[in-house]
Point group: C2
Chain length 260, copies 2
Amino acid sequence: MTVSTINDTNKESVIIIGTGSVATHLINHLLSIGTLVIQQYGRSKPIETKVPFTNNPKELRTDASYYIISVSDDAIDEVSQHLPRVEGIVVHTAGSVGIDIFESRFKNYGVLYPLQSFSNNRTINMLSVPFLIEGNSDQTEIKLLQFAKKISNNVYIMSYQERIQIHLAAVFACNFSNYMNTIAEELLKNKNIEFSLLKPLLQETFEKILTAKPKDAQTGPAKRNDKEIIEKHLKMLTNNPNFQEIYKLVSKSIADLYKK
Amino acid sequence: MTVSTINDTNKESVIIIGTGSVATHLINHLLSIGTLVIQQYGRSKPIETKVPFTNNPKELRTDASYYIISVSDDAIDEVSQHLPRVEGIVVHTAGSVGIDIFESRFKNYGVLYPLQSFSNNRTINMLSVPFLIEGNSDQTEIKLLQFAKKISNNVYIMSYQERIQIHLAAVFACNFSNYMNTIAEELLKNKNIEFSLLKPLLQETFEKILTAKPKDAQTGPAKRNDKEIIEKHLKMLTNNPNFQEIYKLVSKSIADLYKK
């Protein structure tokens, strides 16, 4: 990258703050769509860096159009204090953190929350990832909207209240449904049975969730209120109180929902 | 179907007992692979029947090679009392019911458990469905194995102890992970947000479960032990004690698992 390219005043430029998987996926995608990523800042240099890297806050450039802070939720506040009072738009990428965290520090700020679960070893089609945005002013929000629309075909302006509710829903849909499969995996491991035996069932479960509504797709002992099986299953889980409690509580919640 | 075909002594024949979705899927699949299904028995005649139907136990034929009892778990015992003491092999299709339920009544019996979630309005590729079988004798088990291998490419001889553990695992992997998505759907509905917003996240979650092990694919606040977000989410769930308890318990269980 030449200096003349970097200083091209007609083009928006981005600084990425953070070195985790969201930061990495964002850099790769921004570069792939031709966005200028002029710098990455973080505590320790990633093994592979495609843009100039610094771990020295004094070296942070102040001429970017966007500063994307992509660090863990509880580090956003601290990291933002390393940033000079820049003119560009400062955003974080967190689902459950308000934009007011930037209020006392920056003029133009907001959020750019990608509703996806990123892993270092997996590629993600960023163009289909929903990006939920919010800006501190109409002007900032419009700019952010235009910027986000270059990143993804799936951009929504969402208030803080909407965004945290979506994040909470995502914890159930992604983290907790993954954990139900982890429990299944552990139960099968006890009997030396491969988790892959469940794959056709998982495939069908997933396809039903996507085509039906999950509420209409519910099956199983709890939905049928089959007390005999439920009692048998609870007994089988005696050695694992956490799994037993989860079974009891989820079954009760399913029964309550379908009683209505 | 002509009488000469039905009485072809070289060919195995099947009677299906039950009219639910497993029974329906089995009939359709058996017919599609050229198996003789000579009768279906049930309380009330289905709208569409592809084989001779009766609801009169006295009309039940006694010349079938296999009698597949595909009714709800708690009805297996009662229904089997309607059956004369036949020579053919009597099986049920339940994950959590032993074969001893048939002990006092039949000579040859067992189980043919399809590890899948069947819905009336969805087609299933039965050839890929795992069938878990068990017979009351070696001879019966070998016959059942040969029969099941015509139905599916995915047949396993499994003991009762293995089968009920697999069924329990399937309740978590299928029913409970579906319910986590139902909760997500309900939470989004509260804010008039479409569940479909989560689809890219669900797709990625599912693909990770299939390629990684779910235990390795876990992400989220509970895995990171992010107490601040967990507290915030619990507060947001105050109006739904069931969801709040599930959130608390699943998060605790995740934290406990990854502490180890």
